[in-house]
């Protein structure tokens, strides 16, 4: 995943980059999509029974598995009335020859932190409803994202899969009996979803834009940016995620395209998952 500006790239990448750009000038792409068209999305939920929530999402050939495990824990000191979640992401070496085994590198960490920001700043979860005893006992959600197959753009399907896993996640129910937190056997509750933030990755080549780059395109881009929006089209997270320049004047188009395409992803999400 090398995103260097044109001049630094090796010859073959330069050729490819020129081809991608020429196609874009004609409104075309190497895989027959139109510039602002994202790849086919499939969403399967509850694929891992041992997880409290899970979703396998593919966007073209990029495939992401998210699972959620729930535990009881203590809230953060400055947010005693809120449940806690944490996001981790692993770029599994199964998924690409460019991923190495070992603890998450900067790319895995960036992915996890961007998804975390989407969920947190997009107010996706009603965290106050995940508090059992204020200041003492809350639900802790571990949202773990695994990239299984990587054909470019792991950001958008990761957000989808994290949100789909959350929206279908069930939590064991607890009640407070004589100051003690006790499991209500057999009862489960849903994670209270407030909103479904979703993202779109946009690639830039010179003055042209394209969305949801596949791997071959990704290597040809000048740079790229991830835009995350909530259901009211507020911008809730942004990450320029590769080297290179974005002409200032392109930002307006970027935001408009993001709004338009995210609403299409949202429609698909809602159809499959039921919320959105």
């Amino acid at each position: 995943m090398s995103f260097l500006p044109l001049k630094e790239r090796s010859f073959t990448i330069k050729i490819m980059s020129e081809r991608v750009y020429k196609l874009l000038q004609q409104g075309k792409r190497i895989d027959e999509r139109s510039p602002y068209e994202f790849r086919k999305i499939t969403i399967q939920t509850n694929v891992v029974e041992k997880a409290n929530g899970s979703a396998l999402v593919s966007m073209g050939s990029t495939r992401i598995l998210t699972g959620i495990k729930v535990e009881l824990g203590t809230p953060y000191g400055d947010r005693p009335n809120e449940g806690v979640f944490s996001v981790n992401a692993e770029l599994l070496p199964l998924a690409s020859k460019s991923f190495e085994p070992g603890p998450p590198d900067e790319r895995g960490i960036e992915l996890a932190r961007v998804v975390d920001r989407c969920i947190r700043e997009g107010k996706a979860i009603d965290l106050e409803k995940l508090c059992i005893v204020p200041g003492r006992t809350v639900y802790v959600l571990y949202i773990d994202i695994y990239v299984l197959d990587y054909d470019g753009n792991y950001f958008d399907p990761s957000v989808i899969s994290a949100m789909a896993a959350l929206a279908t996640c069930t939590l064991p129910n607890y009640s407070l009996v004589n100051e003690k937190v006790e499991r209500v056997e057999g009862e489960y509750i849903k994670v209270p979803i407030r909103d479904v933030p979703l993202s779109l990755t946009i690639g830039i080549i010179k003055d042209k834009l394209l969305v949801d780059p596949c791997l071959a395109e990704e290597n040809s881009l000048d740079t790229s940016i991830v835009i995350c929006m909530d259901s009211a089209s507020n911008v809730v997270a942004v990450q320029k995620n590769s080297p290179g320049h974005i002409p200032f004047l392109l930002m307006e188009s970027i935001i408009n395209i993001a709004e338009e395409q995210i609403s299409k992803i949202r429609a698909q999400f809602k159809e499959v998952v039921g919320v959105g």
């Binding site: 029974e49 041992k50 409290n52 998924a95 020859k97 773990d144 695994y146 197959d149 054909d151």
Partner: protein, 244 residues
């Protein structure tokens, strides 16, 4: 976690908790070539146990001082997702995952013609998506197929399955709960055509006779797995290439 009492694992009719008889395999699903970006891949589902394997290589060994002049290095990582088990698994490699990576790798080294790729490396990645017993044997079964799918020359395929002892009975393919409350768990990997053992571990107590009985049950189960492997390859590549 509270102390839980051992459930009865085999009922008066000789049926197991999930309805199987002692020598029954769980439902088995195998797919070859399921991950697009790897050089070879496979998916094995055995009951609720779900495992992916992917292969990259042969490729240049890196860093170079690790290269071996007269053969390829085979690397193997057996890894579980954090949500694959009842209790959340910590991120990073546990000692168990390190050991299992070793025994799976050594089984695969027994059949790959490593000497055909001097100074090269072949990477095998096994990812356990859900662990309900028999993950290392399902992983080895998948890894062997992923190597075949990657076109890496092998003497023969490996098929693997675990046997166990529960309530005094030797059983095929124990599930997680049978493993947890049973008396023994014995994963076995074999080359089904030449009848050799390439992976063998035992965790638990068996008499000498039970041990032999277990090995024979494993051998029979492995033949079934092997048939499913051949069918999966046939589905992907057609009849002509099934004689791996």
């Amino acid at each position: 976690m509270t102390q839980t009492t051992k459930p009865k694992l085999i009922d008066e009719n000789g049926r197991r908790l999930d309805g199987r008889g002692p020598t029954d395999l769980r439902s088995l699903k195998i797919e070859v070539g399921i991950l697009e970006k790897s050089d070879g891949s496979a998916y094995v589902e055995l009951g609720k146990t779900k495992v992916y394997a992917a292969v990259y290589g042969p490729k240049e060994a890196h860093p170079k001082h690790l290269a071996i002049p007269d053969r390829a290095i085979l690397n193997c990582r057996y890894h579980m997702t954090s949500f694959s088990t009842d209790e959340r698994k910590i991120l990073g490699m546990t000692r168990r995952e390190v050991e299992l990576s070793k025994v799976i790798r050594e089984a695969l080294e027994s059949v790959v013609f490593l000497e055909e790729f001097p100074r090269s490396a072949i990477d095998v990645f096994v990812e356990v998506v859900q662990a309900d017993g028999g993950t290392r044997t399902a992983g080895l079964t998948a890894a062997s197929l992923a190597l075949a799918d990657a076109g890496i020359p092998m003497r023969e395929l490996i098929a693997a399955v675990a046997v166990g002892k529960v309530d005094g009975t030797i059983i095929l393919d124990p599930s997680d709960i049978e493993d947890k409350y049973g008396e023994a768990d014995m994963p076995v990997g074999m080359t089904p055509s030449s009848n050799t053992i390439v992976l063998l571990q035992l965790n638990g107590k068996m008499t000498k006779d039970e041990f032999k009985q277990g090995l024979e049950l494993a051998q029979a189960g492995i033949q079934k797995i092997y048939q499913a492997q051949r069918e999966a390859i046939r589905r992907k590549y057609g009849a002509s290439t099934t004689e791996v």
